[in-house]
């Protein structure tokens, strides 16, 4: 079975641009979460979506938005990019939004903002 797939794998943008990152969860998984991992740090929670509804949002500015589609895939959008947005963006899927669910991470999208 395919794991969580993310695209693109690498991306270079300039300040002020916007970016869209994509994620396909494991087949049968209905929950998708997005995390930002800055070099040398642990992942930081951005969003969780379940059944196309936002279930949680981390401490990120409104420049960050996301959505989930009927096939449970998801997009993360970041507007007005800043240098500090340079990071590895990880998508994780889980079967449901319930308690104690294991998170299955993709390999991430490495975003560089110049």
């Amino acid at each position: 079975d395919a794991g969580v797939t993310q695209s693109p794998t690498h991306l270079i943008k300039t300040r002020g641009q916007h970016v869209t990152l994509r994620c396909s969860p494991i087949s049968g998984h209905k929950s998708v979460s997005w995390y930002q991992q800055v070099l040398g740090q642990g992942p930081q929670f951005i969003f969780q979506y379940y059944e196309k509804e936002e279930r949680g949002r981390g401490n990120f500015p409104d420049r960050f938005s996301a959505r989930q589609f009927p096939n449970y895939s998801s997009e993360l959008n970041v507007n007005a990019l800043l240098l500090g947005d340079s990071a590895l963006y990880l998508c994780a899927s889980s079967p449901s939004a319930g308690a104690g669910e294991k998170l299955f991470f993709g390999s991430g999208t490495q975003l560089s903002v110049l």
Binding site: V4, S31, S33, Y35, G40, Q41, G42, P43, Q44, F45, Q48, R55, G56, G58, L90, A92, S94, A97, G98, A99, G100, E101, K102, L103, F104, F105, G106, S107, G108
Partner: protein
Amino acid sequence: QQQVKQSPQSLIVQKGGIPIINCAYENTAFDYFPWYQQFPGKGPALLIAIRPDVSEKKEGRFTISFNKSAKQFSLHIMDSQPGDSATYFCAARDAATGNQFYFGTGTSLTVIP
């Protein structure tokens, strides 16, 4: 503010040694504590997890020790191998916010053959 504090930042052990990675937290609403392993260029992969109602959990060569009163938990890797060289993250889930996980800052483990 770092919700989960992890130490050490890096660790070097000989093959067969038992590296120990420690984490501490303050939020008593945390109800689930997983450990993740991450190799370069890959996303984190779940190793083992524990709930606060048990003090120890073993899965293969990996053991979590949990001290609820001290709000601390640790990962022990028995008979470590060079293939265990990776970055390890502890994490904690806040039940009040659903499935939001807080991660430690990571420990880079090197196992020397």
